[in-house]
């Protein structure tokens, strides 16, 4: 057929290879194919019409073959579509293995599968469209088959993804997780992939919650700062990074008071409130208050209409209103003290992480094991905390100001104290006087403020304590090789060494870091090695603080 051959009529093919259509061959009409390989269509062959295929391999479609029309496939292996074959139309598959789609086959349209293994999709087959699967193993998708679109599956194991396909899309990850549920390294891979798609619900929720917490932190800090602005402007982050420097002369006594009046609120910069408003809506938030807007996704997201039944995950997103922050953030009645505000924020952070975790587990059921959850949590925290840690720490520091100042003074006073001054037994000292005692542990503790995620900070602490034990063993062994077991150090030795190491770091803010870590250390780690190390460090810090 040539152009306009059957503009409004119907075409019925029963033979094999019976039609080769040109542009607009059946503009508004209908095409019914019963034969095998019956149609080879060109651009716009069935512009607004319908295509019904019953045969096997009946259509080989070119670009824009069924521009806005519908394609219904009942046969097996029935359509081999090229780019943009059904740009805005719909594709309904009932057969088995009925569609083999190429890149951009259904760019904005919809694909509905009812058959088994009905779609074998290539890269970008349905870039922005939707895919609905009801059959068993109905889609075998390649990498990036539906990069931005949506996929909803109702069948069992309905999406089969080649396991060798490199990381890209949730379906593949699901299969991978299913295949090797014990391989926890998969989880971090999944997350880095997941968060690289800013429009994925999990990435969206993450950003939204970060923004909410950030806004609260910002308000608390700026209020606290405004509160003490008259006295010493050096309220937050003012304590020098090295204790060798000057110590704030005026310990902030007033800082811990409640914010006194309304005028504090008015000093909150405009965009603070704007961010606040954003955080309780479901619109994209990157612009408003996110401290580090990741590159690429700052513009408005293409808003897709939300239709019922399709959006299991989006119900999570749609309900931020139901998740009001635990305390009113401002308003005339808000006279919360900084410690109270901090408590509220900590609670919000825990809630936020819980929410992210449940969303993730809903999306990837394979992760719902104890180990999987734990790994998930680690990844979520690693994504959640980095932009928030600095303001969070600032709040902790202003709450612990007096302690920190005392610690800083003590550190300054005992700056030159040697290991023996701290009560270390001589067997715990290096034999060679040239090398600094427990240098590696000092370095590890100095790394704590440079990390931005609680787990990583804890790792520094654990590393430091292990390093102390190694050094002690080495020093003891160098003196006396006969008794390696009795040389093993217990807390009687560890704490004096650690106190010495803490003193050497000259970092009084470790106190606030630890206070924050105590709050965000995973419950399961609390009685384990991490918990012990954190407790020991806190002990050492308060011991140094208490030194005369």
């Amino acid at each position: 057929m040539r152009q306009g051959a059957v503009p409004w009529g119907r075409v019925l093919c029963h033979g094999a290879g019976c039609c080769a259509m040109g542009q607009d061959a059946v503009s508004w009409g209908r095409m019914l194919c019963y034969g095998a390989g019956c149609c080879a269509m060109g651009q716009g062959a069935v512009l607004w019409g319908r295509m019904l295929c019953y045969g096997a391999g009946c259509c080989a479609m070119g670009q824009g073959a069924v521009l806005w029309g519908r394609v219904l496939c009942h046969g097996a292996g029935y359509c081999a579509m090229r780019q943009g074959a059904v740009p805005w139309g719909r594709v309904l598959c009932r057969g088995a293995g009925c569609c083999a789609m190429g890149q951009g086959a259904v760019p904005w349209g919809r694909v509905l599968c009812y058959g088994a293994e009905c779609c074998a999709m290539g890269q970008g087959a349905v870039p922005w469209g939707r895919v609905l699967c009801r059959g068993t193993e109905c889609c075998a998708m390649g990498q990036g088959a539906v990069p931005w679109g949506r996929v909803l599956c109702h069948g069992a194991g309905c999406c089969a993804i080649p396991s060798d396909a490199p990381q890209d899309w949730p379906r593949q990850w699901k299969a991978k997780l299913k295949q090797s549920p014990a391989d926890l390294s998969l989880v971090s891979g999944l997350f880095s992939c997941l968060l690289s798609f800013p429009e994925h619900p999990i990435a969206q929720l993450l950003r939204q919650l970060q923004c909410m917490v950030y806004t609260r932190l910002y308000l608390a800090i700026s209020r606290g700062a405004a509160d003490s602005a008259m006295g010493s402007p050096a309220s937050l982050g003012s304590i020098p990074l090295d204790a060798g420097g000057s110590v704030p002369t005026e310990p902030g006594i007033r800082r811990l008071r409640t914010s006194r009046s309304l005028h504090c609120m008015f000093s909150v910069p405009e965009h603070g409130t704007a961010g606040l408003r954003h955080s309780s809506s479901s619109t994209p938030l990157a612009a408003a208050g996110t401290p580090k807007a990741e590159g690429g996704w700052t513009g408005p997201a293409p808003q897709t209409p939300r239709e019922s039944s399709f959006e299991d995950l989006e119900r999570f997103l749609a309900s931020p209103e139901g998740w009001a922050p635990t305390e009113p953030m401002d308003g005339p009645g808000a006279e919360a003290t900084l410690p109270e505000q901090l408590k509220g924020i900590v609670r919000d952070i825990h809630n936020a992480i819980d929410r992210l975790l449940s969303l993730t587990l809903l999306a990837f059921e394979g992760l719902n094991t104890a180990a999987g959850k734990d790994q998930c949590l680690a990844c979520l925290e690693e994504a959640f905390f980095p932009p928030l840690w600095a303001p969070l720490l600032a709040l902790y520091r202003s709450v612990h100001q007096t302690h920190e100042a005392a610690l800083a003074r003590s550190m300054e006073r005992h700056r030159h104290a040697g290991p023996t001054d701290m009560g270390l037994a001589s067997r715990l000292l290096p034999t060679a006087p040239s090398c600094p005692a427990y240098g590696s542990a000092i370095e590890d503790l100095r790394l704590i403020p440079l990390e931005t995620c609680p787990r990583r900070k804890l790792e520094c602490i654990v590393r430091a304590l292990r390093g102390i034990c190694e050094c002690a063993e080495e020093y003891c062994g160098a003196r006396d090789r006969r008794t390696p077991v009795t040389a093993a150090i217990g807390a009687d030795d560890l704490l004096p060494i650690l106190s010495y190491v803490v003193l050497q770091t000259g970092l009084p803010q470790l106190l606030s870091e630890c206070a924050a870590l105590e709050e965000f250390i995973h419950e399961g780690c609390l009685i384990g090695e991490e918990g012990y190390c954190l407790t020991s460090l806190q002990s050492a810090l308060s011991y140094v603080e208490s030194l005369q």
Partner: protein
């Protein structure tokens, strides 16, 4: 995908925190090293040496993970005690039978522990160094009477000869399991998957509950 035998029956596992208290030279380090190293390996148990040790046990089908926290015995660190022993399920208070002073210290700790943690913590008072029986300065009678009076159990050990240590820990574990179970029953009568009540004790059902959710797989 879904299901996968979601029934959460099966054994349980307990995680307990045990804090180790005792003056400088009473031998608590050797005691705990003995316990965690004997038989199995001579290598390091953990990388924190004797400060923090873990041990896994199986007691009547119940799996127990012990985390043993050593504390500094020196007087100058005394004020730091509470931060170590909060949320402990058990405490082992070690004294040296040849050193009357170390027994006095134990008494102080007992008072403190009872004040801070109440009766939920299982206390073990341990007279170590029974290989030096000839030099004994703390009478068995006195120690046992005292232990009974404060609701603690008394044990005699020798880290040097590896005597009484296994029994000490086994007994402690059984008592901690009992306490945890009583605690759990009192708390949430029968709700099997009740979470962690106190921060210290963790009772974990073996099979994680399979969460039911909407579609078989779903994402954006």
């Amino acid at each position: 995908m879904a299901a996968g035998a979601g029934s959460a029956a099966g054994g349980r596992s307990f995680s307990f925190k045990v804090v180790l208290l005792g003056e400088g030279c009473v031998g608590k380090t050797s005691l705990v090293l003995r316990y965690c190293e004997s038989k199995f390996n001579d290598k390091h148990i953990t990388t924190l040496q004797a400060s923090f040790l873990t041990k896994k046990l199986n007691i009547g089908g119940k799996r127990v993970n012990l985390a043993i926290w050593d504390t500094a015995g020196q007087e100058r660190f005394h004020a730091l005690g509470p931060i170590y022993y909060r949320d402990s399920n058990g405490a082992i208070l070690v004294y040296d039978i040849t050193d009357e002073d170390s027994f006095q210290k134990v008494k102080n700790w007992v008072k403190e522990l009872r004040k801070m943690l109440g009766n939920e913590i299982c206390l073990c008072i341990v007279g170590n160094k029974i290989d030096l029986e000839k030099e004994r300065h703390v009478s068995v009678q006195e120690a046992e009477t005292y232990a009974e009076s404060v609701g603690a159990k008394h044990y005699h050990t020798s880290a040097k000869q590896n005597k009484g240590i296994e029994e000490l820990f086994l007994d402690l574990c059984k008592r901690m399991i009992e306490t945890a179970q009583v605690d759990e029953r009192a708390r949430g009568n029968g709700s099997s998957q009740s979470g962690i009540a106190r921060r210290g004790v963790q009772i974990i059902d073996d099979e994680p509950q399979v969460q039911s959710s909407g579609g078989c797989c779903s994402s954006g």
